[in-house]
């Protein structure tokens, strides 16, 4: 039977719905892309036999939890299965959807086209038809290297109500403190939307580390962090965080505890060499603590969980961390296995409060927003 004390609302800040086919997605290409660009994309998807997602590394299985594969279509494409596995079995109350249909493209116009199609597709399907329960929220995908198109997408979808953040890839033509990206952050803030980043599927040079290409997926995957912290440093040191104090920057799937030593580094080096960036009116770590958030999956698992807690304390992580599962991917973090690893005093913050505050999700602690079944699994 349900027991009020067993119930912990959970906001899952990283869930990946997928179209059943490339055709389903490309049907949503806006008119202006329906000509040459649309033809090229259709043909390209056919060549790549699917959603056109490219990656040089082989993840586990097909990159998905084996038991999350629908009978037809890719993982994450079946709304009933997602509802059953995520909202019922895992006990998630509310899920923030991040489609991975946009690939880094050589021509940013193509990437912008994929963003436009994705946003329209998400609105119609997962924030529309499949959202009868009202538990899904979405991300406005933008291509920052086509600024006009990006701003247009933000304008168009910010009023929809179902989109709760702007999503940008970490692999752009520089770090996000560069002046050409400022209008995107400014527009997001103007519309009250956080900006999140999630690693994109790209081939080749975008996957280069500063000392070369790794050989194996299990080296590359932990190194997502290396794609995120330069943007954090850049947004702080270029003064974007200072100019936009309401900007919130969310790092998805890039790890949690590294922020503690990284914030210290930024402070140490700023103290010594900060004369170059006089527009900072406080130490870098304060901008990071106030304006950067991270999602938890895949959570670091030291043998003794206390070691993780040490780093969380050093970060001052109370308002910075938000739970996520990464459903339906293979490295999925199950709530039951993960939530208990958070320090007790911040568990409710991490499980839902930080996300509820960031994304404006009301009423999660009330019984009217209970999950379809209690969070504690039998």
């Amino acid at each position: 039977m349900t027991d009020a004390t067993d119930y912990l609302p959970i906001v899952d800040c990283d869930v990946h719905p997928a179209p059943r086919s490339a055709a389903e997605l490309l049907d949503y290409l806006p008119d202006r892309y329906q000509g040459k660009v649309g033809d090229m994309l259709r043909s390209w998807f056919r060549m790549n036999r699917g959603t056109g997602v490219l990656t040089g590394f082989g993840a586990l299985a097909t990159g998905m939890r084996r038991d999350a594969m629908p009978k037809t279509g890719p993982g994450g494409s079946d709304p009933s299965l997602m509802e059953e596995q995520l909202l019922v079995q895992a006990g998630v109350t509310c899920a923030i959807l991040i489609p991975l249909t946009v690939t880094g493209m050589a021509n940013p116009e193509h990437e912008a086209a994929l963003c436009a199609a994705t946003n329209a597709w998400l609105a119609d399907n997962w924030l529309g038809k499949y959202n009868g329960h009202g538990r899904y929220r979405g991300s406005i995908m933008v291509c920052p290297d086509v600024p006009e198109a990006a701003l247009e997408e933000i304008e168009r979808w910010s009023k929809h109500g179902g989109f709760v953040q702007v999503m940008v890839p970490p692999t752009v033509r520089g770090s996000y403190g560069l002046p050409q990206y400022f209008p995107i952050f400014e527009a997001a803030v103007r519309h009250g939307l956080p900006v999140a980043t999630h690693i994109n599927r790209t081939p080749g040079i975008a996957m280069l580390s500063p000392v070369g290409f790794t050989s194996y997926y299990f080296e590359f995957h932990p190194q997502y962090t290396l794609y995120y912290y330069p943007h954090v440093a850049s947004l702080v040191m270029s003064g974007v965080m200072a100019r936009l104090p309401d900007l919130r920057f969310v790092l998805v799937e890039g790890g949690v505890s590294w922020l503690a030593p990284f914030m210290w580094r930024l402070d140490h080096y700023w103290r010594q060499f900060g004369s170059e960036v006089p527009w900072l009116d406080r130490p870098p770590s304060e901008y990071v603590r106030n304006q950067v958030l991270v999602t938890t999956q895949p959570l670091e698992r030291p043998n003794r969980t206390r070691r993780l807690h040490e780093y969380l304390n050093w970060m001052g992580s109370e308002r910075m961390v938000m739970f996520s599962t990464d459903y339906p991917h293979w490295d999925y973090d199950h709530p039951e296995a993960t939530l208990r690893r958070f320090p007790e005093e911040v568990r409710t913050r991490f499980a839902y409060q930080n996300a509820a505050e960031l994304y404006g999700l009301a009423g999660l602690s009330s019984s009217s927003a209970r999950p379809l079944r209690p969070a504690v699994a039998g």
């Binding site: 939890r65 084996r66 038991d67 293979w330 973090d333 199950h334 039951e336 699994a377």
Partner: protein, 115 residues
Amino acid sequence: MAVRACRIEELPPGSRKIVPGGRFGIGVFNSGGALYALANRCPHDGAPVCLGPITGTTESERSYDAKWVKDGQILRCPWHGWEFELATGKSVASPPKNIRTYPVRVENGWVIVDD
């Protein structure tokens, strides 16, 4: 306590059945004629491990050397791919984190798992 899983005819070689039993259910496997029963719970994060593929694994003597071994003897968790020996529930990787196993026998044509 003995659990009647199924008739032996319903469990030909290469097949499996997930049956109620224990705390999390029990996966009963026929691998090349031998029967095994494992708790349907991965010691990692509690996944329904018995839903995973039966496959082989790799062993190595030096860098870049990978031999394919134990084909049909390894259960991989459907979530994070942890590898377990079907016969013993023991993890392939160290340190050991093993799946609980149960004795299984055939009696009067029924596959019986002793919980």
